[in-house]
Symmetry: C2
Amino acid sequence: MKSYNTMSRDELAKEKDALAAAFAAHKAKGLSLNMARGKPGNDQVQMSMPMLDVINSSSNCSAEDGVDCRNYGELTGIADAKKLFSEYMGVLAGEIIIAGSTSLTFMYDCMARAMLTGVLGSDKPWAKEEKVKFLCPVPGYDRHFSICQFLGIEMINIPTSTEGPDMDMIEKLSADDPLIKGMWCVPKYSNPLGITYSDNVMRRLAALKPAAKDFRIFCDNAYAMHEVYRDVPLLNLLAACKEAGNPDMVYLFGSTNKITFPGAGLAFFAASAENIAFTTKQLSMQAIGWDKINMLRHVRFFKDLNGIRALMQKHAGILRPKFDAVLQKMEKELAGLGAGEWIKPNGGYFITFLAQAGCAKRIIGLCKEAGVAMTEAGAPYPYGKDPDDSCIRIAPTFPSLADLGMAMDVFCAAVKLATVERALEQAS
Amino acid sequence: MKSYNTMSRDELAKEKDALAAAFAAHKAKGLSLNMARGKPGNDQVQMSMPMLDVINSSSNCSAEDGVDCRNYGELTGIADAKKLFSEYMGVLAGEIIIAGSTSLTFMYDCMARAMLTGVLGSDKPWAKEEKVKFLCPVPGYDRHFSICQFLGIEMINIPTSTEGPDMDMIEKLSADDPLIKGMWCVPKYSNPLGITYSDNVMRRLAALKPAAKDFRIFCDNAYAMHEVYRDVPLLNLLAACKEAGNPDMVYLFGSTNKITFPGAGLAFFAASAENIAFTTKQLSMQAIGWDKINMLRHVRFFKDLNGIRALMQKHAGILRPKFDAVLQKMEKELAGLGAGEWIKPNGGYFITFLAQAGCAKRIIGLCKEAGVAMTEAGAPYPYGKDPDDSCIRIAPTFPSLADLGMAMDVFCAAVKLATVERALEQAS
């Protein structure tokens, strides 16, 4: 197909009429579809149903060290869960806390505690600083940014390439400004780009020399084993930080919410033994402990790391055709049109479409008119502001394959129409 | 027996020698017992084991409105759980959030959020005030006080009678000082006194006219159905606050941690619809939702409020002999000695012993020497400081009846020895 870039004004006008007519036909179908939700499909959660059988009324509910999982105690989690999930997180058993059911809540809690009391090594609570700033690789996870916004932490956009965030910028900014207290990152199959940080990026992160001595990398390894097409190895950031003499600089987060049951999974916090000791002492002011029966349930269901791997391979088998469907539609409908680009991820939960600048809001608005809900434009950026109005996060995991096909037809039609509309505006 | 008060110096000296010898015999037994832990006994948690069967791999995991409890969503909890537990909390279904697994964590979280951002009606975050103060009826729950101490909130002791806290003092202080932002209370079978606030106290609480317009009563109704001897009715504080024109002044907390499984229960936050809406909006920044499978498990296990009542009657049947054992030992060993007083509670988890002033630390120290762990002296007071060094919290729920008998023998012997030692000091 001819690229819109090469079309004359008249050709564009004609094309627009044709595309508008095609789009009206989509609207007339009265669809109600959703590609906004980064949640597992029903067939994925169904695979963990046997986990609900491993603990029942006749079960021994003792952890391996004899702790009764049905009663109070074990603030940082039962030994069995620490053993399995420290391996999952790539840390030692003394470097993990099994922290409730959802990692997002614990990330918020870590940030809130830092604001209220500071972290290990802080001179004062972050909230007592004149201002607190965080570095935010973009596009990124909207809920990370919401936490900062809610707590009044100023966010600084860091552009991201397929290698990871712009390290020159991160090194310079963090070294210069003591009010920059940390950064967010999702280093593997990132939300939404689906990229994995290169070893070089991970080593440079670990070797940062921030002006703030209580700088923390909030590293949300949400998709550690969530491959779709290919397992991409990720350098262990805690190990790298130790090597670089920065053992306390990183907080690692993880969870089984996209492994077993969203909401009813386990959350993990991993860090240096010193960070763990400091955090445990603080946590003892706010918690007695979390659901140990659910910890035991997870451990008995998976048995070992291979148990987790095996389940995640099954998930990949379900997700691959869905990702294929999205990518193939884009290839078929949009390749060569100059109507935007997309990145094929190796894993994770999203596909990012980068529309022509100034088109994302319109595309998403058009989709909405035709009954296809997309993640809000701007959502992957701090303050909901995409400076280029270009980035669109597509979540292919929850809809059925059939729904996904219909939704992508609408999406591609919207992309074409919005791109041509924009080209016409610019031509006039 | 002759009261120590009426003994001469010589009589006391002789008595002390006898008591010291008796105590040495206790120490020689090499016991290892614990009356410090306010946790259910194994036989209590055993009663909830059938709850682990009601959801299994063949279960329909949909809530009554069709929500899939195995996937993301429903930040404030599933409708079924809101229905049952709003009834448990004595509020409407729109006045409750099912907030994770433990109420203490949610109480901390409410306080942390108030400090960071303020509550509904705040002009600014509490942490931006020159200082924040909280009223603390004493003796009270140590973990409430730890939250304040951790967050730098100044605590003011409020004496408590069997009717409840000193309302004259609370009314005056809260009306005079805008930096007093709230108060703690455990209105039913209170920790540790076991008293229940009178209707008059509850009405006066509801009718407070605090100088701080964003004053909040953190009302931890931890023992709503936890009778041991007698169900004592408690006036509904949210209803009373509404009547008094203060609908937003109270936060109610509750939990099933001492009903089903400590750590693996459900936590409840109840308040006016306006507080719920405000809090829900804030929570959406820090959470996607909590474990809905565990909510469904609770609802299907209990079915209705009578299901909870029936279980709590069984708990009472287990706890009564334990409370009896403690009270009878004290009656037998200590009545008439002038060695302290105790309050017979109608429910809850504790029995309070009020030693002669200046004796609590020594009694607890002696118990420790003889292998009987007691709650630390001072723990039921802000900053761990009991001004009279008198209050001792006895937790009879976890030990077996046999252990409890042995532990109480040691305790009573320690009380006698410490009291006589003190009387001798004062006589010299």
